[in-house]
Symmetry: C2
Subunit: 221 residues, 2 copies
DNA sequence: GTCTATAATACGATAGAC
DNA sequence: GTCTATCGTATTATAGAC
């Protein structure tokens, strides 16, 4: 057995992982996403994560050295997903199409990945101890790049003059709200726990708000 | 001493509190707001709260039976503050004035009471274990009442047709974002820890977004 | 790789003197 | 009302057998 283990170790280059390793890491990360997104970092326990992963706690710690390491692995794996919808904004498109489809992508993301959104929200709310660097570098740079595109549209008179970075903040907050504050949304609307039927109305409202005209002195036109 | 204590107890009706009691409870709640809003319920410790209140932990627990009781006291004390800006919306006013001043009140609230906003956000994100009832009753009722006002404006053609409850969600999310996600806002804008200079630009953007026209096929008009 | 057993500690809460 | 000392428990992490 020791011989076989050495053989397998010899067969693969340093840093690679066996099939069972990848499977177990995936199971752990899936369970951890459930628990962390529901209870936050401090509210989560390794017991619950191990239980949801159908694994013993020491075995879980065989794959990740600590609770924090699992948390960081989840967050860093999330950052590219978070950036993806923003990257797609193109300078040569029509403002309405570009902003509109960006909003739809972000709202779809809240619909399909609410746990990821809540994990992210928890991290920011806690002061971004793990992803502060990401926010200050990659995200800041991408925002400046895309804000320049919006500023171009403003200069062309195709968009109202206001700080484009804050427009992005408004898109983030309104769309993520439907994932992060879904409990409040459902309670106020009188919906049951799993009911996500509000997303259609949300999309209509966001279209009117960002791409049309909600109200003005002369009516919405 | 026992005699004096009885005398003092007799002097005041049941439920009233001495001056020192009120002072200490206030000190505890102030410290607890700091710690809970920064670290969340599970991340907060009685040690830190007691330390920030310059008080021993057992003495703190003399005034509040448990950690949870402090948390609930903070939350329930917050609910009226949370509702206040919404209550002020009047049906006989102009839509632009009413919505506009509501947005300014909410944004001012994020500026002046960011800890309260983060405490609230943490509670919602955790599934609203303590204020679920409030959301389903008082808040739901008030939202329905104010949504009816907005619906009236829509019926009069003074506002674009879309679910008014979602318009309220959009106002909540965009304004509270500047308190709950202030770390992200500052990092993306390249501002220092205490810098709140972004609120002016935020107010301008929100004005354009909700009361003007951001973009449309024919330009922002 | 996976397990049982357990170490080590952090934390909420209580006891009891003053 | 306030304190020191401490209990009991939950939780992260490790030791060591298999």
């Amino acid at each position: 057995m020791t011989g076989n283990a050495k053989l397998r170790a010899a067969e693969k280059p340093t840093g690679s992982k066996t099939r069972i390793q990848k499977e177990n890491e995936t199971r752990i990360l899936r369970a951890a996403l459930d628990v962390f997104s529901e209870s936050g970092f401090h509210g989560a326990t390794l017991d619950r994560i191990a239980s949801e992963a159908s694994m013993s706690k020491p075995n879980l710690l065989y794959y990740f050295k600590s609770k924090e390491e699992i948390h960081i692995a989840l967050l860093t794996g999330l950052l590219d997903v978070w950036l993806a919808p923003l990257r797609e904004i193109r300078p040569d498109g029509d403002p309405v199409d570009e902003i509109g489809s960006y909003i739809r992508r972000k709202l779809e993301s809240s619909h399909s990945f609410p746990r990821e959104s809540r994990l992210f929200a928890n991290e920011i709310l806690a002061g971004a101890p793990h992803i502060g660097g990401f926010l200050q570098t990659e995200l800041k740079q991408l925002v400046e790049e895309k804000a320049a595109i919006l500023q171009g549209w403003i200069d062309q008179g195709r968009m109202a003059p206001c700080d484009p970075r804050h427009v992005l903040f408004a898109i983030w907050s309104t769309t993520q709200h439907y994932a992060d504050f879904s409990v409040q949304v459902r309670h106020v609307l009188g919906l049951g726990p799993g009911d996500k039927s509000y997303f259609d109305e949300a999309a209509r409202m966001l279209d009117t708000l960002f791409l049309g005209q909600l109200i003005s002195r002369d009516g919405p036109g």
